[in-house]
Amino acid sequence: MARMMAGIDVGGTFTDLVLLEAAGDGVPARVRVAKTPTTPENQAHGVMRAIGEAGIAPAALDLVLHGTTTTTNAVLERKVAKVGLVTTRGFRDILELGRRTRPAAYGMRGEFEPLVPRERRLEVTERMRVDGQVHIPLDEAEARARILELREMGCESLLIHFLHAYANPAHERRVGEIAAEIWPNGYITLGHELLSEFREYERGTTASINAAVQPILERYLARLRSELADGGYGRDFLVMNGNGGTVASRLVAASAAKTVMSGPASGVKAAAYTARAAGMADVISYDMGGTSTDVALIRGGEPEVSSELQIAYGLPVHLPMIDVKTIGAGGGSIGWIDAGGILKVGPESAGARPGPICYGRGGTRPTVTDANMLLGRLDPEGLLAVDAAVTRGDVEAIFQAELARPLGLSVDAAASAMLTIANTQMAGAIRMVSLARGHDPRDFALFAFGGAGPMHAGALAAEMGLPRVLIPARPGMTNALGCLVADLRQDYVNTVNRPLDEVDFDELGALLADQRARGEAANAEERGEITESDVRHSFDMQFVGQTHILTVAAPEGALTRESLAARFAEAYFERFAVRLPEIRAVLVNANTTVIGYREPVDLAALADPTGRAASLEAAVTSRRPVYFADAWRETPVFSRERLPAGADVAGPAIIEQMDTTIVIEPGTTARLDDIGNIVVDVPLAQPTRRAAE
């Protein structure tokens, strides 16, 4: 029997599964999908239900790859383990003081609670200097007493975080040994172990997130493991990390913080994989959902990674993660008119409850989804049939009262204006994301998924001047696909923080070799899955006096002082168009990524060719009036499953499929590529509006 693999992603609302039966014996690869409601109390139930719904027994699965929001939710909802902190005398408040900020530039208010409250943050006598020399020796008896005190308080998880431990971890290690003797479980996080990088607040907060979610993740994985085992699944499963790679479930809890924000990462991973298979290397992934939109940059087929993300205000996670930016605009974003009489969209959202008006769940404010429905972009019959409590007239009446009348527009024009504003705002935000990283967005294709992404992508691409839109075969299953295609991946960061001309390159070589060995050992757990391995080194660098860092890949050939200096100078010039030969370069961090590539997945299997119609005309399921720019047009509606391969669909057109609706704007052309993606070519920006002379 052919190999069966399941990618399962637990999202906020749905648990998605993509099951791939590999090709074999002349039978092409086949795919099955399932979507079940997420079960927040114990996500394992939803996972098992999804497997059941796909019509397969766990025993028949050869591999499960899993993305979970357990840790993200635990942190955001502050439903975390009770953590105790042992730290350097004089510094117990680092996690609470932060970096002296406020939540927003304007507004002298805000609240912040660290994950470890003050009464559970205890100090011990010890101090390292910046160069790793001991300034004050560790008082071991005191450390033992403090740990016992935290145990008495009922702490489940222990965090040990000392100043300058990245430079010399001896004190943290020694206290870790003492703790191992007396702590009732294995939940002990040493600050430097997860992240050996300077900056005490970021390192400490990252470690506190790890300590706070470790027991919760482990309990969840144990439940899932046992349910899978009860179903006859005989081996370990892989868990998605925020870096877009997977790791064996038995190893993942030790660095539990790495799973935070893995949800959006798997979507980006799938985007990169799919785009690469479609021959596109530079892509902006665009996942528009109900309340927010996630955007990430993919260059040369690789998602950009950042070690400076923040899960919420005051909670930075300085571990390498796929750099996903969230924009507060989605289908639920509300249109309103400010006191000056100007039309605005968002940031307020109707969310899932009460949701858009047309969902009939009690929503009473005009949303982007409602505008799409009124304009025929979304099938009004399909939507309104969900609940007879709301009619099109109800939605129109609210648009009339809240937007059209005050603006002096027709309802159609007001709804259309709302979409234009929403797109302009999203375009602005995406432009800033790409420009901030030194890229011109016009060099990228747009990879659209999520419930609303494919509906807006065409107009958005035109607004931003992007030449092409790519819509995958299963836009609603992108995150689960990301799990399925993810490789095994381990990332390591160690601070060096010395001017390049003072770096000892033998020491650096040893450090990189150690990082590599750790990564290879972790991947070895799953060596059966790995077809090929890759080790990449990179370096975070800056000029003396700067605070921003630039990450550069290792130079080709031998790593020497000269080759690294040249590599940095080139990268700096490429990014900032400045050369600064008179200023010394600093090597801030040395990084290693160890990747174990898995067997490639045949994406063509995602699209089922059996339903394809013989001609384009035969793929039309209906026609309906759709409002584009400033007029209604009778528009053909195609069934995606029935689109013939290689067919060109000229806009205006609507393409519907189970999990999304695709809008093909007038003047653009959509084509089905040979692996089931829809590729929309957007002609170079014609001015959409000329001056109203």
Binding site: R100, T101, M108, G110, E200, I342, H548, E693
Partner: protein, 586 residues
Amino acid sequence: MTTLDPLTLAVVQNGLQQVCNEMDLAFSRSAFSPVIAEADDRSDGIYHRDSGELIAQGEGGLPVFVGTMQHSTMTIIERIAQGVTAPPEDGDIYIVNDPYLGGTHLMDVRFAMPFYFRGEMFCWLSNTGHWPDTGGAVPGGFSARATEVEQEGLRLPPVKLFKRGEMDAEILAIIQSNIRIADQRIGDIKAQAAALHVGARRLGELLERHGTETVDEAIREMRRRSDKLMRSYIAEIPDGVYESEAIVDSDGVVDAPLVIALTLTVAGDELDFDFSRSSPPCRGPMNSVIATTYSSVYLAIKHIFPDVPISAGVFEPLKIRRPEGTFLDARYPRPVSGCAAEVSQRIAEAVFAALVQAIPDVVTAAPAGTSGNFALGGHDPAKARSYVMYQLTGGGYGGNAQHDGLTNGCSTIGISKAQPVEVLEQYYPVLFRKYALREGSGGAGRRRGGFGLEYEVEILRGEARASFIMDHGRVGPQGALGGGEGARNRIRVIRGDEDYVPPHLSKDQDIEVGPGDRVEVLTPGGGGYGPAFERSPDAVRRDVQRGYYTAEAAERLFAVRLAGDDLAVDEAATRALRADPAAAAS
């Protein structure tokens, strides 16, 4: 009434905002000075070609620059009209840092570029960046003892640094001969000009798309609408006359408090700010130039109503009487280095204190309100080089109707992050012995103030001099609606067995220190909101459990008695204490 359709109006508004945001981004990304690159101490905007009024400003700009650049641009236009400054040509960029010509302090250097579209000037693009040094008596420009502006650094009237696209090498040479670390400034000058060029390119695209007439009309309409928007907010404020005061400890030279006295009149949809009862101009550098005084009022209003866009229309219903004859309208040659970082925050505090009486659900009690500037300049023998370390700190924010004040927030006028201890120890020969939450510093109240910071730093090697420009040493950040004052700023220099406290409490210069000596700074807590006796005893208990206050302070300040090891609330005793406030306070 406009003939513009509402969609075009909203799209143009978004577009102009985007132009400014991209200028902000371009400036920070390519600037070399960490003050700009990391602390975002800069701002970019679009200004009207004839009036100089603000059309749009980047959302990432430093709050203190809300409104200053329009005064700067207005001054340039005026001087061109008078024939004092050469008229603009395509490709020119004017440079100016004169505080009296629409500025803040000398370190905030403004660039103004006339923007031409199809051969005609359409508007001004301007920006401000804080340069690390512009010459003067002390590195960095913040001399606590300056008595005239010449001691504070090089002062440039508006002159063309770029002429028809070419940098003027002679002007550059004059600048470079008068400032410290001159070699790095060329990178910042290029970044500052490049940001304007980014804006020009984007604005050009917007004009291509919509046409100059449409954009012009949209700008007029946006001005009208933002005026209307601001007025709608003001109309909600109960009419009345509200008075407040805020105290600056001293000017750094004469040891006497400076008073900002505000009479705020709310009448219909306008606010009238009268600061005329404030102290006269001072000898030391705590004078404020008029543009900074105006801008401080704007930024306070923006903090209260964060949703209002920053544009000239918003300023229209804010009538600020020019406080002639006071230290808030400094004229040449009064020294002004303290105005942007400190006096501005006291002006904002006066605005908060007046408006919290009128709209108590919206405004907070006073925040810490000082930038906490501690500069340590010395020589590190181990690295054989001189250094200047700046430590800027925050403090507690004021309690408010919704919650307690934030702990260790950024200054009212800033948005930057503090430097980590692990970074400071890397660059400078110092060791922090403590970096902690300052216990007990939050002003008592139904919603208490946030807590300040307490740090103690030891000099490890070499000789050095310590200088301080802070505030709130004499009186703490004020409480609101019966809430208590936040703890005052404290500075102590521990030299051998001697404790030195600056005579002006929060300001001093060139205190000599050597190896083993320590500097201790305690930053202010935020003001409390509402009577402390109304604070929930459970919240007080939690605060004591966390060590924010002692049990003794809980009783004295909040009239809550906690008993036993588990600090249970003694309900009967607490009731009795709260029934007789005099007994509790004794």
